[in-house]
């Protein structure tokens, strides 16, 4: 088909009749005389036809005069919130990479309220083409200032003309986007005469072709007339584009790395749902998958509320995690709750573990029945919170003053020192586990020894951890013997 017949004929990618447009005139568009949108629409539709991607086409229309682009384009249409087209396009393109996504945006949409979305989508190199119609004014809302309104240009919100002191300077989006690594094609064109329309046609085709070929993000800014908003005739508008707009917004190709960029090959990973449990670490993380291999003692009626506290790095949270897992393996109801957020980064950490024969209410432990204190501040913080007849197990290699409470049982375990002797300070928490198990007596020793390496999977520590656990148990047994004697 010759170029001239193409120009005269309606593109396949347009509807024959614009049925979605209400008001009884399905032939003409809703755009004003002299508006640039119609021409830009035509150039896009023609490119979609020529590259054979009408069916794959997803047009995302913005908020602005082109909000109704879906009246005209016979492709898949999504209407987006103001400025969010590149985010919506990102979502669509990621969900369906086998599509051709065109984000159609105006200047307020792209360069003001949606400035972040466009920069970020461009920077990620999303598989999409952005067509940016810059007419230096808000058309749909009635002629207010746009981020691209020129200095001294009068709009309804700059009645005396845009003043850089108050409103800053017009944003040059093509220049900004061309500084980013990811985009493969960034160009600014204008539509003010046949020659410039041809240049625009070329740029739009190049941008869409880049996407069809899987090269990534492409961007075309088009200086376009808004005679209504500008309060000019269509002819005056063309002159204004040439003589004023194009002087500040220089047309040109700002970036073209299409040929140097390898096409992105989208390989779709297909996974059999049967494998999900393994892939999601559900089957492997489960202790009870070996249920019945080791016998566990019957469940006792009890509510054990444990607080474990110390410095970050002492294995406070993981001790709680191991305890809760083991108790779960003994068929108890359990919960584990860490102190979270900035608290964690202040150097102290604590966690709450609850073990009970019945359903647990709140996971937080305010008044522990057992406190395991691994440093001095923890002892200071929690000593007074323990319930009467509760147990304090504290690391007396790091805490030099014994607790003052007389209504609780206190056990000093030099966990750090003992762990050092075994060969790893890191196992101090497992020494405490041994001490706890020996004192509370409801957990099976053989089961714990089997379970520790199932829960803490670091190979290096497995032997040491079991040894540390045994050491902790022994220490308590010795202490208790002394008491009896």
């Amino acid at each position: 088909m010759s170029v001239s017949s193409k120009i005269l004929q309606k593109s396949e990618s347009f509807y024959n009749a614009y049925e979605r447009k209400q008001g009884g005139d399905p032939i003409s568009t809703h755009y004003c005389p002299g508006c640039g949108h119609g021409i830009v629409h035509k150039l896009i539709a023609e490119a979609l036809d020529d590259f054979g991607v009408q069916d794959k086409g997803i047009l995302i229309s913005p908020v602005g005069c082109s909000v109704f682009a879906y009246y005209y384009f016979d492709v898949g249409n999504i209407q987006a919130a103001h400025g969010r087209a590149p985010a919506v396009g990102t979502g669509y393109s990621r969900a369906n990479p086998d599509s051709i996504v065109i984000c159609y945006q105006g200047d307020g949409d792209l360069a003001a309220i949606g400035a972040n979305e466009i920069i970020q989508a461009a920077n990620r190199g999303e598989k999409m083409t952005v067509i940016f119609v810059n007419n230096a004014i808000y058309g749909m809302t009635g002629g207010q200032m746009a981020p691209t309104t020129l200095i001294a240009q009068r709009t309804t919100t700059t009645p005396l003309g845009r003043n850089a002191e108050n409103e800053g300077y017009p944003l040059r989006m093509s220049e900004i986007i061309s500084t980013l690594e990811a985009p493969v094609y960034v160009a600014r064109t204008k539509i003010s005469d046949t020659k410039s329309i041809n240049a625009t046609r070329k740029a739009i085709r190049k941008a869409i072709k880049a996407q069809v070929d899987g090269r990534g993000f492409s961007f075309v800014e088009i200086l376009s007339a808004c005679p209504t908003g500008w309060k000019m005739s269509p002819r005056e508008s063309e002159v204004w584009i040439e003589e004023i707009m194009a002087k500040y917004f220089n047309p040109g190709i700002y970036k073209d790395t299409i040929d140097t960029r390898q096409p992105k090959i989208q390989q779709k990973l297909i996974v059999d749902p049967k494998d999900y449990h393994e892939l999601l670490d559900i089957s492997t993380a489960s202790l009870s998958s070996l249920e019945g291999v080791l016998p566990v003692p019957p469940v006792q009626e009890m509510i054990e509320e444990i607080k474990i506290a110390g410095f970050g790095g002492q294995g406070v949270l993981s001790l709680g995690y191991v305890m809760a897992n083991i108790a779960m393996g003994h068929n108890y109801e359990v919960s584990w709750l860490p102190s979270y957020g900035p608290e964690m980064r202040g150097g102290t950490a604590n966690c709450s573990v609850k073990v009970s024969h019945k359903r647990i209410g709140a996971p937080v432990v305010a008044h522990p029945t057992t406190l395991i204190a691994l440093n001095k501040p923890s002892m200071a913080k929690f000593e007074n919170e323990i319930t009467s007849n509760g147990i304090i197990i504290y690391d007396n290699s790091l805490i030099d003053t014994a607790p003052q409470r007389k209504d609780v049982q206190v056990y000093a375990v030099p966990a750090t020192e003992l762990a050092d002797k075994i060969g790893s300070t890191k196992s101090a928490n497992m020494v405490m586990l041994g001490a706890y198990a020996a004192l509370r007596g409801y957990l099976d020793t053989a089961y714990i020894e089997w379970a520790i390496p199932q829960i803490i999977k670091k190979k290096k520590l497995q032997e040491l951890n079991i040894q540390a656990f045994k050491t902790g148990m022994e220490h308590i047994k010795e202490l208790l013997k002394k008491c009896v004697n």
């Binding site: 879906y70 969010r84 919506v88 979502g91 669509y92 972040n116 749902p273 809760a324 709140a362």
Partner: protein
């Protein structure tokens, strides 16, 4: 089925993947970040996509785009982040797209703190975004339900072409509990409205704009009809020791766990209390509340929330003066203790 000791936030992601969710878009925020972190690890493993968005606004609009493609998609955040998403949520509701949003509520208003609160009830259940829309709202009270209700949220979202929210708090998100995971969902509803970038779906349109007031009114009426059907069919609630209860305690989420503990202790003292716990906040268990209110044995309702009494308003609307309503709330990230709840119940009993 084996149990895994797991955080609520991690259970959400596994549940979502087992429910067939394939795309995650989100922004980090405490105490919801583990959801994004877990999603970043597991979504790619099963052939799905994870993207850390530039903002909460970006994330929810990516959800809008992916939902338009017909895939199961989700995002997660915490209160201040959810406030930012409200624009997108309104558009998604208006365009009738299915998606799942997880809100791990924290203390507010403003930056507030990162401790657990339930102050988002109004913004999630009553709107938050503009327009006459409703979200399907599910309120888990355990790590198990974080998985189960996330899975249910995907099902309901697709069934009604409506966004569904799992409304939890910092404790439910952060705590670990044993969770049993079911087998993955393998059959999904056909979405003939979705844009699949094919000839057959080319004529589909995803939009929330309609300039004609009559047509937009019609669309709104259609939405209201849909919400009425949801209210008819999807109410979920838990009844605990209510049979002969004279005082009905109500709570959702983590608070219901504490209230349940209080019910046991009060019962042991011979006080006839029970708990009615809404699992769905929209649809709200109106009929069930009315049924209990109609019983002459029921003296009053006592509501416990970690906010200034937001669900309380809904209970009052339902009761419409038929029974007295008492309220005790904690705010700022403080959680009731069981003891405190018992004291409050005893205090109101004495006063009545």
């Amino acid at each position: 089925m084996s149990k895994v000791l797991i955080k609520g936030n991690e259970a959400v992601v596994r549940g979502a993947i087992l429910a067939g969710c394939r795309n995650y878009f989100g922004y980090p925020i405490t105490p919801a970040s583990e959801i994004a972190e877990t999603a970043a690890l597991y979504f790619p493993r099963v052939g799905g996509g994870f993207l850390q968005a530039e903002s909460e606004i970006g994330a929810i609009n990516m959800v809008y785009g992916a939902a338009a493609a017909g895939v199961r998609v989700m995002t997660a955040s915490s209160s201040p982040g959810i406030s930012l998403k409200m624009e997108g949520i309104s558009y998604i509701a208006g365009a009738e797209l299915p998606c799942v949003i997880i809100d791990i509520m924290r203390g507010g208003p403003g930056l507030g703190n990162i401790a657990p609160e339930q102050g988002d009830y109004n913004q999630i259940v009553k709107g938050g975004g503009h327009g006459n829309y409703k979200l399907i709202v599910l309120a888990p009270n355990s790590a198990q339900e974080m998985s189960d209700l996330t899975m249910l949220a995907f099902e309901l979202a697709d069934k009604y072409r409506n966004p569904a929210v799992v409304l939890a708090d910092g404790y439910i998100g952060q705590m670990m509990e044993p969770v049993k995971f079911p087998q993955p969902v393998t059959s999904f509803p056909e979405k003939d409205w979705a844009l699949k970038a094919t000839r057959e779906t080319r004529d589909n349109l995803v939009t929330s704009i309609d300039l004609d007031p009559d047509l937009l009114e019609k669309h709104n009426e259609k939405l209201q009809k849909k919400y009425a059907i949801i209210e008819e069919n999807e109410v979920r609630f838990e009844e605990y020791r209510l049979d002969d209860a004279e005082i009905i305690l109500m709570a959702f989420g983590i608070v219901s766990r504490l209230v349940q503990g209080a019910v046991d202790e009060l019962r042991a003292l011979g006080i006839k209390v029970g708990m009615l716990r809404p699992i769905t906040l929209f649809p709200f268990p109106k009929k069930q509340i009315q049924e209990y209110a109609a019983k002459s044995s029921v003296k009053y309702f006592h509501i416990f929330e970690m906010n200034n009494g937001q669900m309380l308003d809904d209970v009052r609307l339902v009761l419409n003066g038929s029974k007295p309503v008492k309220f005790y709330g904690r705010m700022g990230g403080n959680v009731h203790s069981v003891k405190e709840i018992i004291e409050q119940v005893m205090k109101e009993m004495r006063e009545l």
